[in-house]
Subunit: 335 residues, 2 copies
DNA sequence: TGCTACTATGGAACCAGTTCCAAGATTACG
DNA sequence: CGTAATCTTGGAACTGGTTCCATAGTAGCA
């Protein structure tokens, strides 16, 4: 049986409280006593029970992270930022991977039960009005990453502006027939993802500002993934009057577009310009032009915000907007 | 203030034990009483404190996962398998990302403090003899994934055989000048990674069996990563008598080799055959020939083993070896 | 009817820490 | 030297569950 704080107290010949004080680095212990206690701790190879500690103090030093499809490169990179910042602050992270809408709802609901963790970070999933209310009522500290919601705190980017940035890059190079490829309606609804839609809004806005004709058939939606995007892109490229450039709502989907152009023997960027979003690791390898967002940093900032909330300080401003930038590589060219 | 089990007992007009029994689905409660308790629970919107529960029962329903470089695609895929299996069994996972040897040692040591979790899964990091002893003494259930150690339990693959498989594939296609590209000595030492070395042993074994001359200059080592591999591959390919095929110890490193051949205007597979290891997601996209190992399944199996251990049943056999297979794609061809 | 066996229930004790109050020891200072 | 202020210290009470023992109630059976 492992030693308890009482065993230590007995061996050191001091009281319970004194041992607790030593453990918590309280200044209210004389050096001599402290030494005696530390010796006893070493002798008994005592290590305090974290569970008992959490139980009595009410702090778990743990944060829950709800991440949709955590194998997606962009999500992984955010998680790395989160882990790094949490670890630096002595916190652990519990990961919940959301791959179905049922799990999404369950996770958001469970978070409000405020138990095993001191707070939660939610990646990319936008809480609906009712859920926001639930979370607020429960009083759980929550930080949003890659999304925002009325009355909640977090970090995000301006996806609309990002979409504009991408499409303006294409317009500037003389493209007028520009396709868009984004997430399926079902996915957007089920998970309440917002970024694909916002990026599309930016696309529409940029086209509008340039007086380019909008063609509904140039906008395609499919389940997020390379192979789905490949099929959609093939459809786009086989239209009677195919687009000369395609803006994919994510780098992963842009990879599907590249595959499709390979399938159809189209050269990129000579016959087709392709631009993605996120600047995930492989984008550089592929020479993919894309809109870069600070993924790692989003995780770090999310943690800062959340730890602030846990400490009782609401961040100001409530929602930080991180900078994004266009990274021009080899998959886009003038017409 | 949240309601406690005592509030529920009072409202339902029953004893503490009875409420606890209802919560734990004990059959020793009459239907009428159960209903009364459930009503009280609903009325108070009571939800049991997980921490208190863990504290008093000694079970945390949580598992720690120690993962080196958890952004590497292969690791992420294993994590997904782990999360999926843990969630199916009502467990949560706490992730520790190891990116330095100091953290590796700290994590392995912390696990033995058996506290916040019921057990641990260790990915790819082989415990050293002293660490094995420490873990055994601490009595913490531990499952190893992608590695094995004397007296410990887990799942792995036969990396030596995998290396042979890869090299035989090249030999069969007439290649005799075959390079190998693996992890740096420093990395292997610091983290005690074994797979790169084992794959190299398979490489040596296959070459030996084929009476192909071994050339020390054909074997290069560098920090795991695409750009490092790219540099090493460039060195290999600029030798007076360059290899006609390269076996990279991982798909990520194989991508570096592909970059290097692009740099040097070498066509793959016409001028150079390239084979990787793991069959990560992008391998298919790149048409990379590789040795596939069941990553997702390794996570699942690891969880099965660990939960068995937690339940008191040592797995038989102690170490499972998962099947691997060669996936021939477009980056390898006959000379 | 009386005795046994089993079901249902209440609640004290326990898990291992933290917190805080009371009290003893020591120091400062007039 | 006495008194107040400050520093140390001990330990009871508390956190919110689970467990288990004692007991009341009930059914079964001769």
């Amino acid at each position: 049986m492992a030693a308890t704080i009482r065993d230590v107290a007995r061996l050191a010949g001091v009281g319970l409280g004194t041992v607790s004080r030593v453990l918590n680095d309280s200044p209210l212990v004389s050096p001599a006593t402290r030494t005696r206690v530390l010796d006893a701790i070493a002798e008994l190879r005592y290590s305090p029970s974290q569970i008992a500690r959490s139980f009595s103090s009410g702090k778990t030093l743990t944060v829950s992270v709800i991440a949709p499809f955590f194998t997606r490169p962009s999500v992984v990179e955010r998680l790395r930022g989160i882990e790094s910042a949490l670890h630096a602050n002595g916190y652990s992270l519990v990961v919940f991977n959301v791959e179905t809408s049922a799990r999404r709802d369950a996770c958001l609901h469970d978070v409000s039960r405020h138990d095993r963790s001191d707070g939660a970070l939610i990646i990319s999933l936008t809480p609906r009005a009712g859920e926001v209310q639930l979370l607020r009522d429960a009083g759980v500290p929550v930080g949003l990453i890659d999304t925002s919601a009325e009355g909640m705190y977090g970090v995000c980017i301006d996806d609309i502006y990002g979409g504009e940035l991408a499409v303006r890059h294409l317009l500037d190079r003389g493209h007028r027939r520009i396709g868009f490829l984004g997430d399926s309606e079902a996915e957007v609804q089920d998970f309440n993802f917002t970024s694909s839609r916002h990026r599309q809004l930016g696309y529409l806005k940029a086209l509008d500002a340039a007086d380019a004709t909008l063609r509904p058939e140039y906008q395609r939606y499919g389940v997020h993934g390379r192979s789905e995007a490949r099929l959609l892109a093939r459809e786009l490229l086989q239209l009677p009057e195919p687009p000369t450039a395609i803006f994919a709502a994510s780098d992963t989907q842009a990879m599907g577009v590249l595959e499709a152009s390979r399938d159809l023997q189209l050269r990129v960027p000579e016959d087709l310009s392709v631009i993605g979003f996120d600047d995930i690791d492989v984008a550089e390898y592929l020479g993919l032009t894309t809109v870069r967002q600070p993924l790692f940093m989003s995780g770090q900032r999310g943690v800062e915000i959340l730890l602030g909330l846990i400490g009782g300080e609401p961040p100001d401003p409530p929602s930080q907007v991180l900078p994004i930038e266009l990274v021009a590589r080899g998959t886009t060219a003038p017409m």
